[in-house]
């Protein structure tokens, strides 16, 4: 089964990358863009058929490795739960 982890910076944490992209988009004529934040999306292929257990395991992975919980929040999407 597949799981997707979306990782975004916590509110208030500076996102210099987003700021630079926002500037560039404005310069390229996309003046309607007022803010950009950049996150990560991690797609996991996992041998596990039970969506609940899958979600639980992925949450563990986020806490141990995938997310830097000091500055990032994560959310998990389990494909077959959708």
């Amino acid at each position: 089964m597949q799981a997707i982890v979306n990782i975004v910076l916590k509110d208030g944490v500076l996102d210099p990358q987003g700021r630079a992209i926002s500037h560039s988009l404005n310069d390229l004529g996309f003046s309607e863009v007022s803010d950009v934040r950049v996150g990560k999306q991690i797609l996991l292929e996992i041998d596990e058929n039970d969506p609940a257990r899958l979600r639980q395991r992925v949450a563990r992975m986020c806490e141990t490795l995938l997310a830097n919980t000091v500055i990032e929040n994560y959310s998990i999407v389990v494909a077959d739960e959708k």
Binding site: P16, Q17, A20, I21, S24, D27, L28, V38
Partner: protein, 234 residues
Amino acid sequence: MTLSALRVAIIVFPGSNCDRDIMVAIEQLTSRRPALVWHKEASLEAADLVIIPGGFSFGDYLRCGALAGRSPIMNAVLDHAARGGAVMGICNGFQVLTETGMVPGVLIRNAELKFACRNVRLQVCKTLASPFTSKLAINKNLTLPIAHNEGNYFAEPGELDQLEGEGQIAFRYTDSSIIGKANPNGAARDIAGVISRNGRVIGMMPHPERAMSDLHGGSDGAYFLLKSLEALVS
């Protein structure tokens, strides 16, 4: 034409940090100071060689070279190249060239996911006619420094075959007594530098401007640059 008549323009983006280094290197070889051109300029004065220097243009944000590749000055650089003008992209400059499609392929994260700063040994490949290789002996070895986080050259296997077939690979990482693996970043087929189909544009990861004399620990960079400049004036 003499070397001192050669007009070299160096493009400067916010975050470029090897612009001065390559300027000093070229001046050392030609006795003529290259022009520094700010990225917000929309036009480029006539130049015999345009150099896109190393550094972290726009902080390397989004993708290395992506934001720089869309700067106003790049339209002028593309026009220059379309007219057959010579362009050299070093390190971040190489990344800018791939982002704008001026040379094939892309540069992704180093396989070991670490920034790598050290000397590498390169082998000069047999290429199609190009000022950047025509005066170098095929199979000659050059020792040059690298310093990058995204130098892992990637293209589809079919495209790689084609690049090899057409003679568009300028340099490969090769075995060395230097400590560490020959290929420092996982680049496909050990590719360290490629040239465009017309031979006039080169993108390379190593930094020749950091190997200009024995005080730098070697002068192969001066040798490579001098041979390229000589080819451009002849």
